[in-house]
């Protein structure tokens, strides 16, 4: 169970983006979070993935309240989350070949010995061939790079997935392909999903339930 309880968060002291938002994702559940641009839904997703420290409120993961955020979170906690962001160009190190990009989380966690097997298998799942794996981000299209970013998010086999506008830049076919990869992974592992976006049709098709930002009890920040 991933519970966000009465979260208040923002980027400036005393000027939160939103106040008192609560959201729960049950184990194995896929929740789509819908809201207009700039409402703070991405910030909430970052709080849920322990990437942004809220000003107030609690994040409870499987019954245990999170105590630290970002590098202060225990390693086991951090690696329980796989995150895919909207803009693959901004979330991929331009110096790394795609194969190293996907392998980076393994290496960072001292599991470099598993790289060969895991990366090959995952790359195949997301549809990247060996030829593409040897390229750097500027040599591939947005869609191909986002496939690599999704593989990177899955390589540590997280229990929770957070997809923040994962497909906003992508064409219909690539969108459908990436969603299929996420769903296959979830069917295999029972991972929970928080998908953030503004495409209602997509999230309603993809997720078990969708939550409207306006129904989460948010009071305006300022």
């Amino acid at each position: 169970m991933l519970e966000l309880q009465d979260v208040t968060a923002g980027y400036e002291r005393r000027v939160p983006v939103f106040r008192d938002v609560s959201l729960t994702v049950a184990p194995g559940e896929a929740v789509g979070l819908l809201g207009p641009s700039g409402c703070g839904k991405s910030t909430l997703a970052r709080v849920g993935a322990l990437l942004h420290r809220p000003d107030a409120g609690r994040v409870v993961i499987d019954g245990e309240a999170a105590a630290g955020w970002r590098h202060r979170a225990p390693r086991a906690r951090r690696t329980a989350f796989g995150v895919v962001f909207q803009q693959p160009r901004l979330s991929a190190d331009p110096r790394l070949r795609l194969t190293d990009l996907i392998a980076e989380p393994l290496r960072a966690n001292g599991r470099g010995n598993e790289v060969t097997y895991n990366v090959r298998e995952l790359a195949e799942k997301v549809g990247l061939g060996p030829e593409l794996l040897g390229r750097r981000p500027h040599e591939v299209s947005d869609g191909q790079l986002q496939r690599a970013c999704l593989a990177r998010a899955l390589v540590l086999r997280p229990r929770w997935l957070v997809c923040d506008e994962m497909t906003a830049m992508l064409d219909a076919s690539t969108t459908a392909a990436l969603v299929a990869v996420v769903e296959e992974y979830r069917a295999e592992t029972g991972a929970g999903l928080l998908a953030v976006g503004h495409d209602r049709v997509l999230l309603q098709r993809w997720c078990d339930r969708t939550a409207e930002w306006s129904d989460l009890g948010a009071s305006p920040g300022k």
Partner: protein, 324 residues
């Protein structure tokens, strides 16, 4: 969508014939980004060029504006009105008479297109000064009017681009594109990253500005946006236009005829939500025959030969039953 779907008797605003663009790479290889594109665009008409990222759509737009990098080689022609071939015109002509004046560009990422160190007002005023004959005292007023045309709120005129939301930056860029009153509007992915409401508002505004007297070429991967405003659809795959159809027939009955176009529509979440298997080919390494054949469910040995664009579709197995 009451405008005529077929070019009227008047000369087309833009006539593209056999346009090809290739990039010379190190080692003498070529990346063929656009191959043999044909289309015409009449006043009052909106053509949506759709396809997945990396299929050559944006290169085509750059070619029309003379903004290709130095290693690009072009072939064919792109007649603007009846006097300028955009592919042959020199930089001076393009800069002084075409860009902004005869072709307005609504850019792909408006936030990156605006000058970051100057306010929206100052950029609007500069554009008004450069592109119109407004006398000096009237410039300030003309800039405000230009902002209003694109529904850009007055109160935000003195802001810098980084202080604008995505939707406002989009409107600022649209306002700039409309100042020159150009007969052709070129919108390159005008809706990337906007939410659904803003997408609809943006494309409706573009459509409204097109009116009866201008033509709109919208390049997009967003099929819903294309369906909303386009009169005609051109589907691009691996640098080629593989289907060119009336928008209503394409999205409704009888539907797309090229298997790629059909797959693209079926991938929409409101339809089957099934991806097209595989990935598009490398533009540096295109097959001799149909580029879609490796991913195509109906491919046969006939597909080793490049299918010509015949009756609006380039496929040996165009879904015959669908033909109206």
């Amino acid at each position: 969508m009451t405008t005529s779907t077929f070019p009227g008797p008047s000369a087309p605003v833009l006539s593209v014939q056999g346009l090809s663009v290739r990039f010379r790479m190190r080692g003498g290889t070529f990346v063929r980004a656009v191959s043999d594109a044909h289309f015409e665009l009449a006043a009052g008409e909106c053509l949506a060029l759709v396809g997945e990222s990396g299929c050559g759509k944006s290169v085509l737009a750059s070619a029309l504006l003379g903004l290709l990098p130095g290693n690009a080689e072009t072939a064919g022609s792109a007649l603007l009105g009846d006097d300028i071939d955009l592919l042959r015109a020199d930089e001076r002509t393009l800069a002084r008479t075409v860009r902004g004046r005869r072709i307005g560009l609504v850019p792909q990422s408006p936030a990156a297109h605006l000058t970051p160190v100057r306010t929206v007002r100052s950029q609007l005023e500069e554009t008004v000064r450069e592109l119109t004959d407004t006398p000096k005292p009237g410039i300030r007023k003309a800039a405000v009017a230009a902002a209003e045309r694109a529904a850009f709120p007055d109160g935000h005129l003195d802001r810098y681009p980084h202080q604008l939301s995505g939707g406002l930056a989009q409107r600022a860029a649209t306002a700039l594109a409309l100042i020159g009153d150009a007969p052709l509007l070129l919108a390159d992915e005008p809706t990337t990253g906007l939410d659904r409401d803003l997408v609809e508002r943006t494309v409706d505004e573009l459509k409204r500005h097109t009116g009866e007297t201008r033509a709109l070429l919208m390049i997009t991967h967003d099929l819903a946006a294309a369906e909303r405003i386009a009169d005609r659809i051109a589907v691009m795959y691996a640098g080629r236009i593989v289907e060119h159809a009336d928008a209503r027939a394409f999205f409704g009955e009888p539907g797309p005829r090229h298997p790629y176009a059909r797959g693209l529509l079926d991938a929409l979440p409101e339809r089957e939500f099934t991806p097209i298997p595989g990935m598009p080919p490398e533009l540096a390494d295109l097959p001799a025959g149909c580029a879609f054949a490796p991913r195509c469910p109906t491919a046969t040995s006939a597909c080793a030969v490049l299918p010509p664009l015949d009756d609006g579709v380039a496929c040996h197995h165009a879904l015959e039953a669908q033909r109206a």
